[in-house]
């Protein structure tokens, strides 16, 4: 019934074989020269076009925002008046915020952070066509000093890590990706655990979950979590805020405690981010430890 010439079948066979060879080559660990070259070539073509699209769509996106917000202008005025009243009262609590800023600074210093060199970049794609990967493309690549396994942050905290770096663009695996896992510790107690995007069995639904290895550890909603840091700062530098504990889940018989995390960064609307390209001169590994060792010694 399905007649087809043998030559046509041969073509299909050859193409399928080629695809399978590529799958096998790319599936192996490490960087393969064939697939690496293919990606580099594709990236060469992609970067200038993505640049052009950025230039063209910038004004369009601005105009779209303007049109979209037009009808809401009246509401906006009421909203602003309300916000103005709110701000006046907030002015009085500015001292409180100062204290918060100091705490954050302390938090960063405690982790030995500081002296990191950051390359600014912009996220230029957010979704992939099949929707299973949480990745973003940045408009900075090896030309700007971005390499694989570098930490990506924005003004609020951890965005993810670089998984591929081309000459002018790089791909970031977001912290919310299913295969992402980040070593993390609690702000106050320093208890370590793993933050991942994958769903942990029996855990509450969340973009990020924090698995704490110590069952005895005190963890409460509102606790903040920072990165633990990896050796040589790759892929994650220490002290970057990841998020706030939203809900703690204790399941009887489990080996770890699981908490749902409210990410510090809004991963759905990434724009300006920074890639940490240079670490401090000293290995920050030991400076991560708080001055007082924990008496339980469970680190």
């Amino acid at each position: 019934m399905f007649r087809d010439s043998s030559r046509s079948r041969l073509t299909l066979l050859a193409l399928v074989a080629a695809a399978v060879v590529l799958l096998v080559l790319d599936g192996r660990a490490g960087t393969d020269p064939v697939t690496g070259t293919a990606r580099a070539g594709a990236e060469l073509a992609f970067a200038p076009i993505a640049d052009g699209v950025s230039r063209v769509t910038g004004p369009v996106a601005t105009a779209y925002e303007g049109v979209r917000q037009g009808p809401g202008a009246a509401e906006r005025i009421a909203e602003l008046e309300e916000a103005n009243a709110g701000l006046e009262s907030e002015l009085r609590s500015a001292e409180l915020d100062e204290g918060r800023a100091e705490q954050l600074e302390d938090l960063l210093h405690l982790s030995g952070l500081g002296g990191y060199e950051i390359v600014p970049a912009q996220a230029i794609t957010h979704v992939t066509s099949q929707g299973y990967e949480h990745t973003a493309t940045l408009d900075a690549g090896t030309g700007s000093g971005v390499e694989k396994d570098m930490t990506v942050v924005n003004g609020r905290g951890l965005v993810g890590k670089v998984v591929q770096a081309g000459a002018r663009t790089s791909t970031v695996q977001l912290a919310t990706d299913h295969s992402s896992s980040v070593g993390a510790r609690l702000e106050g107690s320093g208890k370590i655990g793993v933050v991942g995007g994958a769903r942990v069995p029996g855990a509450p639904e969340a973009d990020l979950t924090y698995e704490l290895f110590d069952m005895e550890a005190q963890i409460e909603p509102g606790d903040r979590i920072v990165t633990l840091g990896s050796h040589e700062g790759a892929p994650f530098v220490p002290g970057v805020p990841i998020g706030t504990v939203e809900e703690v889940h204790v399941s009887p018989g489990a080996l770890s405690r699981v908490a749902a995390i409210e990410p510090a960064v809004d991963h759905a609307s990434l724009d300006a981010v920074g890639v940490v390209v240079g670490g401090p001169d000293d290995d920050p590994r030991d400076s991560l430890l708080p001055p007082e060792p924990d008496p339980e010694g469970d680190r």
């Binding site: 019934m1 399905f2 007649r3 087809d4 010439s5 030559r7 046509s8 073509t11 299909l12 193409l15 399928v16 080629a18 695809a19 399978v20 060879v21 590529l22 799958l23 080559l25 790319d26 599936g27 697939t35 293919a38 990606r39 070539g41 594709a42 990236e43 073509a45 992609f46 076009i49 993505a50 699209v53 769509t57 996106a61 230029i124 794609t125 957010h126 979704v127 992939t128 066509s129 099949q130 929707g131 299973y132 990967e133 990745t135 973003a136 493309t137 998984v163 591929q164 081309g166 663009t169 790089s170 791909t171 695996q173 990706d177 299913h178 295969s179 994958a198 769903r199 759905a268 609307s269």
Partner: protein
């Protein structure tokens, strides 16, 4: 002329998919897949071998262009198979008589919807079979459904221009050809 135009249009669709569609500022789980639509139209208007080649090339480009992070070759394999199967089935069952029959826009859109569904399912199946931690049954079902819907809604943008081009140039190139030959092919 027809082949060159088709090549240019498919290239534009692939680039548009990666640079424009993938950067739309909406928080969807899956976006429209315009490349499937392009491959389907080419497959409906050409032979199985050429359709498979077109699918392979477009899929390989999708695999290599950022921000794809899956194994290189997945799209190439699926698109190649999709192009071949669509073309083969249409040649053997769809076109009545096969003589001078133009592919209607509705046929192309319908086949695009079915193929998009098939691609989504195969992609999810590969994820499930290889134990990709990002794919589980409920997520995959939602992703496939939404992705297919988005593709169906957006596909006329791709299907109609390419179909028109291929039909129009077939007419000019083969207007003088007489006999029982179907003016198909590149």
């Amino acid at each position: 002329m027809r082949a060159a135009l088709t090549f240019a249009m498919v290239t534009i669709v692939v680039l548009a998919q990666t640079t424009v569609v993938n950067r739309l500022p909406f928080d969807w789980v899956a976006g429209p897949d315009l490349v499937v639509a392009a491959v389907v139209v080419v497959a409906l208007t050409t032979g199985p071998a050429a359709a498979a080649g077109c699918g392979f090339a477009a899929g390989l480009a999708l695999d290599a262009l950022p921000p794809a992070e899956h194994t290189l070759g997945t799209h190439a394999l699926l698109m190649c198979a999709a192009g071949y199967v669509v073309s083969l089935l249409y040649r053997n069952t769809g076109a009545p008589g096969g003589l001078d029959s133009r592919v209607s826009a509705w046929t192309a859109l319908g086949v695009t919807a079915v193929t998009a569904l098939g691609m989504g399912l195969s992609f999810a199946a590969i994820g499930l079979l290889t134990g990709d931690p990002g794919v589980d049954l409920t997520d995959a079902a939602v992703t496939v459904a939404l992705g297919t819907l988005a593709t169906v809604i957006a596909s006329p943008l791709v299907v109609l221009p390419i179909l028109w081009t291929r039909n129009a140039f077939a007419e000019i190139d083969f207007a003088t050809v007489q006999g029982p030959m179907t003016p198909r092919g590149w």
